[in-house]
Each structure stands twice: as structure tokens, then as C-alpha cells.
Subunit: 348 residues, 2 copies
Amino acid sequence: MSEISSLGEFGLIDRLTANMPMVNASTILGVGDDAAILHHPADMEQLVTTDLLLENVHFDLTYVPLKHLGYKSAVVNFSDIYAMNGTPRQITVSLGISRRFTVEHIEALYAGIRMACEDYGVDIVGGDTSASNQGLVISITCIGEAPRDRIVKRSGAKTTDIICVSGDLGAAYMGLQLLEREKVASAGRKDFEPDFAGKEYILERQLKPRARRDIIEALAKADILPTAMMDISDGLSSELLHICKASGVGCRVYEDRIPIDYQTAIMAEEINMNLVTAALNGGEDYELLFTVPLTMHDKVKALDNVRVIGYIAKANEGCAMVTRDNTEITLRAQGWNPLAEQTAEQDN
Amino acid sequence: MSEISSLGEFGLIDRLTANMPMVNASTILGVGDDAAILHHPADMEQLVTTDLLLENVHFDLTYVPLKHLGYKSAVVNFSDIYAMNGTPRQITVSLGISRRFTVEHIEALYAGIRMACEDYGVDIVGGDTSASNQGLVISITCIGEAPRDRIVKRSGAKTTDIICVSGDLGAAYMGLQLLEREKVASAGRKDFEPDFAGKEYILERQLKPRARRDIIEALAKADILPTAMMDISDGLSSELLHICKASGVGCRVYEDRIPIDYQTAIMAEEINMNLVTAALNGGEDYELLFTVPLTMHDKVKALDNVRVIGYIAKANEGCAMVTRDNTEITLRAQGWNPLAEQTAEQDN
């Protein structure tokens, strides 16, 4: 294992970014100067998003492998670009590295970031690397592009639009509960073998999420332009409220329409948690939530991995979930609030 | 004083970004969606740079006011864009905030960032805000623009080019020494009044650096396009070596040509430090180091606040400083290495 101080900042950056061909025509110059140089086509807008991930706030290295962490750190940014109906093209990667990390640790983290970039066709064009005397700090900024008339904001939802969601919800949160449970069970036991049998899906949803490029491509192919869209990082309730607030509308979603995987259901039962609460408020699913005009209903129904879960109502009707027994429950943002009291329980 | 948890992430962001008009035509949509939307003109390249600043690694809140810290955090990014001969246009601001900060603290930090943006005509278009259970974390990414044929990289210096530097060097480092000295002197003394008389300049250089937009504008006005350029953040020696390595050349700089302010000299004498070492290796001056063809010598000499300090040599002649007694001393990068052993002494 190699001490990072033996390489220094520039040596470490050289090592991490070696043999990294740029794949996008819009990347003119990558790592190595005061700034990267990009040139996005004249008919494209640029999209910019950024995420800050802090050790023991956003991730726990007790059970998150560094390579997975790197992968996820990049993918959550790509997800924000897809949520605008764009294509991610470049990222910058800033790392604050505490002394307990070796060069090999950081190479594992970076290998995950690079793998995500390869999977999604994104170039690493810059960054900053520093010592941290706190924990690991990861700050990634992603730049993407989209034609102006294809960009989808949060603010375009109209009354009578239908509300759609991709994939299924609550799985990443249940994966986190599983990891936390096994962490507690393993405390102080060297020979401990965590029991993940039959829970591979929720584990992968937590540790190696994907950004829904496939849905963006399917929508384009089906000639469907959503009226509003965002990705579900803080939970369905929270994101629905964002769209409704930005669009000046209300909504109704149906409890029995919310897509949930059976592994999510089994885990919720094992830990005695309300399943719908998990699906509404569990974060980190990185599924796409979007609205389309009612006239698109048949087109949307024909798509794989997309479920219609409700409709956009008038603002004065508020935002509510209609339960199986036809009761209306007002939606509240109970998702992860990273600025609330910082207790382990609230870490999602 | 208000607890940050009382506002939550979105409430805090709303408060920080209220009444923030966008000033650049290239900013289509700022804070508030999954990503910002930009549209840089077709005849411009985009420049992207990022800096990560960590408490007790890059700054010490014992003596750095939060507003100054915010100002400096933004300006160091602008400096990187000017160093490419570009114009900064947008930034994203990510903050990791530990529990000891109140809303008013973060407003002071943000006020500094906003003031810097106003001074340099830059829009804040996004960011991320999170709890930190470590210290304060500031990650800023800046996007700028420049016409392709005006961008200046590190790699264009040619043999016989002359080497120029703006302003003066070593002052920010001496300002830091002053602050450290007064911090030590004040330890445990409630009635302590720091003695900054006659040292206002070096203090300002450390606490409120400026990016040299004026030099970029003066170069353009004089029709001088540097062959290579970068900003001096890690020290003159380190940056000269970067330019020489990237350009495949060597260099000679003259000790008696290195610009040093008299306050810098007085402080160096007070703490018994070699003045030239401070000027060569002290970081954070954010002056511009650039090379121009020898034919531009008279044009450059006519500029205010620019000094010719040496010339570009052949690669096999190496990189050296010529002392007052005509000895050649090989240049070494002894500037701040943020990944070396983390002792307080090496914090610049």
C-alpha cells in the first residue's frame, strides 16, 4: 500500500487520470490546465448540476465499497441531467482525502467513477484533490446538453396531465436498512458473515444505482415529451411536491399504483415498516418522475418500466395520495432532510 | 441566531438565493431545478474549473471572517478562468455545514460569495447544501467562456519568449504568517488586540484576494496574446515548472526582477524568513504568470502592474533562478502541497 504523500497532489492526479481517452466531441481539453475547455454545439443548451457527498452523512464506509461509492457518486449526477431530458457529457471530480486512505483506496474510488463514466459516455475533465483532516469528501459537478426545445423542467405540469414513474420505489431505502441491520449484527464479531440471500436486488439498488438513460431514450423514441420531470432522490412525496409547487398545481396519486418490488416488500415486513411509507419517502431510487398530457396516455402505457400513478389536479385541490380504501392522505415531504438534526436514524 | 435545521435544505437555499438577479445572457435558468440551463454563444468555448476548500486544511475560522472566506472561495475560481484568458460567467456552490453554524453564519459566508459574483459579473446557478459532521466544506465550480483563438493554455511557451508576472509576490503568504503569529499571541487572552498596523496590504492579500481581470483586459487592449499563462496559487516556482513541463521548455528568472511589496519585505524580516523564498514559494497570490514572444517586449513593458522577470530557455537548460550575484539556483516546487503530511506548519 502506498502513502498518498509519496505522490503529492499532481502525482496522484496523473496516476488517477492516466489512459483516460475523451469520448465526447464537446470535450476539447480535459485535466491538466487551469480549466477544462469544452465546446457544446450551438444548437444545444448546457445543463449543470452538482452533488456533494460527505462521509458519515451520505455514506458509511463500514459497508460501502469504495468502488461502488465512486460509481454511485457519478451516477447521481448523471441522473440529474437525464431528469432535464439531457445527456451528461463531462464531470469534474473534487476529492478531500483523509490520512487513513492509501493510493490504492483512492484508485478504487476513482475506478468506480471511471466505470460509471464509461457506462454513460461521460468524460472526466477536471477536479481538485486535497487532504482532508475530516472524513472523505466527494464533490462532483456534471455538465450535460440538450436541445432547447427538448429540455424538461419541473415547472411545466398542467392540470389533467398524468403522473408517471419509472422502475420501482423504496428499494434503495430497504437496501440501506439491510446494510444497517447487518452492520449492527456484525459489531464486534470478526467471523460475521452478512446474510444477503434473496436480497440482491435491494442491495444493488442501494450500492450501485443506475440513472435512467433508457427511459429518456424510450420517451424520445416514442415521441413523448414530458411536461415536467425530475429524478427521485429524496423520495416520491418530496419530488411530487417540488413539481406541484414549481408548476403551481396539485396532484392525486393512487397507493395501489405505486410500483414496489417484492424484495422491497419482504424487507419492509422483516423490519416491521410500513411499505407505502418506504416507497413514498425512501430516497436514492434515482427513478424518473414525470408528467405527460392526458392525450399521451396510451403511448405511455405502452412503455416498459413506466407506470402511471396518478394525475395533476388544480392547485386548490392540494397534493394527496388516494389509499386502497379510497381515503385521501395529504402528501408531506418526509424524505431525507440532510440539514435536519444529524442522527444516524435520519440518515435517509 | 437561527438553527439551520429550522429551515431545512430547501428553506436555507431559498433564503440564500433570494433576490439574486442573473446578469449574464448565457444564464437561462439558475437555482431551483435538477440542473441549471446555460447557453454560451456558438463562437465561444466553455471553460470549467473547480476548487474544494476544507476547514483547517485551506482555512482557519479562528481568524478568517466567513464573509471574507466566501469572497475568496469564489475569486480563486474566477482567477483560474482569467488564467485561460477567459471570462467567468457562472458558478455552482456546494456547502457542507457543521452543526455549530447558524443560519446567520451561512448567510455571512454566502454574502461574501455573492459580493464576489457582483464584483466580477458572475451568476450563482446552482449548488448543493448538506450537513457536515466534520468541519465546513466549500466546493465551487466555475464556468467561463472565451473565443477559441483567444484561449491561453500552459503549453504554448516557446524558447526566447519572455516571462511576465502581474502585481507582486509573497504578500498573501506573509499575510498568513501575520495572522498565525497573532493567533498564537492571542491564545488564552480575552483582551487581546491583534497588531496589524502598517500591514494592511499583506492582510488584504491573504483575506480578500482579487482575480486579475484588469490584467486580462489590459492585455487585450494592448493586443497582446500570451503564449502560455496560469495563475499563481501554489507559488511562482511551482507554476513556472508547470508551464515549462507543459510546454517542453526551460526557463531563467532573475532574482532582482521578482516584484515584492515593502510590507512583504518587512514581515519577512520580522519573522526572519528569506524574502525570495517567500516570493518563490508562498502561495495564494493569484497573480498571473504568462509568457509572450520577445517581439512583444516593448508592448509588455508599457503595461502597468506587469513585470518582465525572465525568459524561456531550451528544455535541456532546465529551470533556474539567477541570483543577484549571478549564481543559478535550480527551481523546485516547494509551494503548498495539500497532500503532503498534514501538519499545521505546512498549511501553506
